[in-house]
Amino acid sequence: MSTFASISRLAIGAAILIGVTGCGPQEPASTGGPATIRRLSEAQYRNTIADIFGPQIVVSGRFDSIEREEGLLAVGASQAAVTAVGFERYHALARAVAAQVIAPVNRGTLVPCTPAATDGADDSCAKIFFSRAGRLLYRRALRDTELAALVGVAHAGAESRADFYNGLSYGLQALLESPDFLFMRDATVANGSRLSPFSKATRLSLLLWNSTPDDDLLKAAEDGSLDTKAGLKAAVDRMMASPHFNRGMRAFFTDMLTFDDFATLEKDAALYPAFSLAAANDAREQTLRTLIDFLITQNGDYRDLFTTRATHITRSLGMVYRIPVAIPGGWSRYEFPEGDNHVGIQSHLSFVALHSHPGKSSPTLRGKAVREVLLCQKVPAPPGTVNFDQFNDPESPAKTARERLAVHAVDAACAGCHKLTDPVGLALENFDTAGQSRTEENGVKIDTRGEIDGIPFSNGTELGKALHDNPATAACIINRFASYGLGRTVTSGEKPWVAYLEKTFTSNGYRFTDLVRRIALSEAFYAVSAPAKTSTKSAGAAHYEGKS
């Protein structure tokens, strides 16, 4: 059901799943952080179109990529520009979406008025359409001048084409190509110290739904209730009870776990015939299903994700994991048996395959991913002057990755970083690059011993336990989720707030839904500090001197 077709018939008053208790530590004051302007991501664009006009509207095309910053595309979106090619694509997308919205099959439900005649302009009906669609697309009410411009272009189009609905499509196109739609600007109030109600609604909607605010949320912004504690709580409760909430959380984990890299994931088909495109798609879905089921549906302890044997599988995945799956073409719950190496999401195909080479595993890439993705630690980039002579020794007897990587230990330039990554990644060497279990490499038994942050382990299962117990694991999810919601990294003035989140996360049993709710209800989440003074001169402009 589209938001626009029925103006939000979402289940208001649905049962509240989990409540943040009224007792416990109080939220500290926060100085906030700078206002941002985020470019709409591909997923947000698609969700917005589906939510406003319905899932029958096909969004087919490519988008400019966003650079990952501090582990998140959501942070990079605050720096992303629109290239000429990107705008050309937005233009094509807008034409295609607008054409579908005004198509005979959709206009009856998506255009909320009937024109006086269909073979010409009707400014009154056009105005109704644009004020309703524009409010949802711009995430605020349209100004009179904006409406007039849209009605004007629709009028001209309708006269030219002798078709009212065709005329509408030109105005809708303009809405979909406008910066007010493509960029989400943090507007502020109270001398720039907090977000305006509309920007607050947008931040909340992106956090929980990864989409535009719906009609009810915009109404709460318009009538001021979103700025009250009770109003905000009602909005958060409603949104977390909505089916869109799972979609929003999937979007966060997709970003955090770098699942955008699945778009270019390749495994050698000759070496790994079980790794099909279907298996790759299902691998991504397996982990997301496990996360949502475990964290949202079951309200589990976040840390247990690294020790759980419970997951969801398909027949395609069964071929990779070498387990029989009776149900063709569908998902079923599955629990890996005791003694199996598949323990925790770090053992999922989505993790071990994504952080490997196309033709072989990589303890270094896997160790780096554990550090950076799951623990939010930074692994320095490799030095530019590495001596590979020992690696290149044709007489080397090395048979396993561990033996090959041992070379790094004798070169100080390498050892500093490889001691951070390799002992962690070697624990996952029981999985080849395509995620299949193995016990030997080149006829030699694989040794999965290692250590992380001083905790020794003997295999991947024990690595999962070490991740479960590592304080950085919980700190990481808090930091990432806060940054994801803010669209930027946490500032020093927000550190007391993050410390408060860590404390309450711990005391509430590491329940992710509690963390989500607490962030969404925090005053700090909507606080804004004065922007830092920055040069208005672009790096490029200052870079070269012209003759004229």
Partner: protein, 448 residues
């Protein structure tokens, strides 16, 4: 009122007042600059434009096996054997350096970023300034439907070496079918068609962009100066699309060499070498037709990526991994498998040159009216060396440069080559780069 044009119109006339009598403001692009001024022309009388492009490959050369040390000639060795027939079209540049001024050598990135932007990246992922192809397209790209075309043959849309900055990378086309559709799909106007009739829909599309432009101005008024600078590219992008539409309203200049190939099928994309080679051939043909049909004058073609993920089916090691982990051959003394990949890359470059050399244009060939700068990101991939990165220029840029020369930079900054290319293409710039990469000295040895 009818939107059908009643007479051939200039861009300005076509737009002025044709939409409900309202003024549609647009800056006309710099037209007809850098057309061939050597007296050659198309059959229709129009001068032939000079085109510019980059051809990128990752992993450099196998030291000592690509080119001989004698700089009195280009002495291609076994790795570059495929280029020997094309030596007369090439200048080879050796011993040009990329001094990083104490900055970390960010592996497989510092080299190409320094070469293309004139500044070493401060950290991983940074592109501190526009790449010089962008500066060239800013000058010559406005006269064509596409300011530039970016193509990557590995199937990965992140494999781009053209950007205005870190957060503004030009996304490449990675699928031959998508490239074909973009170039020669419904919006293509055949310059040699006898029946030109502008589509009235174009004027309506232009009016949509006028509304968007007004919205942009309002939006810009509500944000700070730093964010406005970020919005600049969005502004430029609107104008580029307006320009694209305006050009489609004009009867295009006939282009003798323009022959539109038939659409490719939906083929595989990916980093397996046979797939990359096949897609490179297909997209090269489309690219040269885009140039010949005057759809663009600037291009970027990436054969592989800077961390070359090329691989042979059934082999566990990628090109990049081989450069680090493959032992040197006991008797040959180099990495045989990595060398094999390098040879295939040079064969692809030879095919690329051959395709340009095969298209007749005016009294010569498309290659004569093109300047291609082919380059890698390292010299010796095994050691990530950014000094002596191999660079070649190919073509004569409208008979304005000599070819067949092996130029030694004697340790000069590699930016001399980019500066030369920019000046040749009309960018008004006399000094380029920062720190030790800054230069005002072009490579005058190759100028006619």
């Amino acid at each position: 009122m009818s939107f059908l044009l009643k007479r051939p119109a200039t861009r300005r006339r076509a737009l002025k007042g044709m939409f409900r009598g309202g003024a549609i403001g647009m800056a006309l692009p710099l037209l007809d600059v850098f057309l061939n001024d050597n007296g050659t022309a198309l059959a229709g009388g129009a001068p032939i434009p000079t085109r510019f492009g980059n051809w990128f490959w990752g992993m450099g050369h196998t030291p000592g096996h690509a080119i001989g040390p004698d700089t009195s000639k280009i002495d291609f060795l076994e790795e570059c054997k495929a280029l020997i027939p094309y030596t007369k079209h090439i200048n080879y540049f050796g011993r040009f350096n990329a001094p990083l001024d104490g900055r970390t050598n960010i592996t497989h990135q510092s080299g190409w970023v320094s070469l293309k932007t004139g500044a070493p990246p401060p950290k991983y992922g940074d592109i501190p300034a526009p790449t010089f192809d962008v500066l060239i397209s800013d000058v010559v790209g406005g006269a064509t439907r596409f300011r530039a075309l970016d193509v990557a043959c590995t199937g990965n849309p992140k494999d781009t070496f053209s950007a205005r900055g870190t957060y503004s990378r030009n996304p490449p086309e990675v699928s031959p079918l998508a490239l074909y559709t973009r170039l020669f799909g419904p919006d293509f106007v055949d310059p040699n068609s006898a029946n030109f009739k502008p589509d009235p829909e174009l004027l309506l599309q232009h009016s949509v962009l006028s509304v968007v432009e007004d919205q942009r101005k309002q939006f810009a008024n509500e944000i700070g100066a730093a964010d406005r600078a970020r919005l600049d590219e969005y502004t430029t992008s609107i104008r580029q699309l307006e320009n694209q539409i305006s050009l489609q309203l004009e009867k295009p200049t006939p282009a003798d060499a323009c022959r539109v190939a038939k659409a490719p099928g939906e083929g595989p994309i990916g980093a397996e070498l046979p797939i990359v080679q096949a897609n490179h051939r297909l997209m090269t043909q489309m690219l040269i037709m885009a140039l010949a049909c005057n759809q663009t004058r600037v291009f970027n073609m990436a054969f592989n990526d800077a961390l070359s993920c090329l691989r042979r089916p059934g082999n566990a090691y990628t090109h990049h991994i081989l450069t680090h982990e493959e032992p040197n051959h006991k008797t040959l003394g180099y990495q045989v498998e990595a060398f094999w990949f390098n040879c295939r890359v040079m064969e692809a470059l030879a095919e690329f040159i051959d395709a340009f050399a095969a298209v007749r244009e005016g009294d010569g060939y498309l290659l004569d009216n093109t300047l291609i700068v082919a380059h890698s990101e390292v010299s010796n991939a095994k050691l990530h060396q950014v000094d002596n990165i191999p660079v070649m220029t190919i073509g004569t840029a409208g008979k304005r440069i000599k070819t067949g020369k092996h130029i030694s930079g004697n340790g000069d900054p590699v930016t001399r080559i980019g500066l030369t290319a920019m000046q040749l293409m009309g960018v008004p710039i006399e000094t380029w780069g920062t720190g030790s990469l800054q230069t005002s000295k072009i490579v005058s040895e190759i100028l006619v």
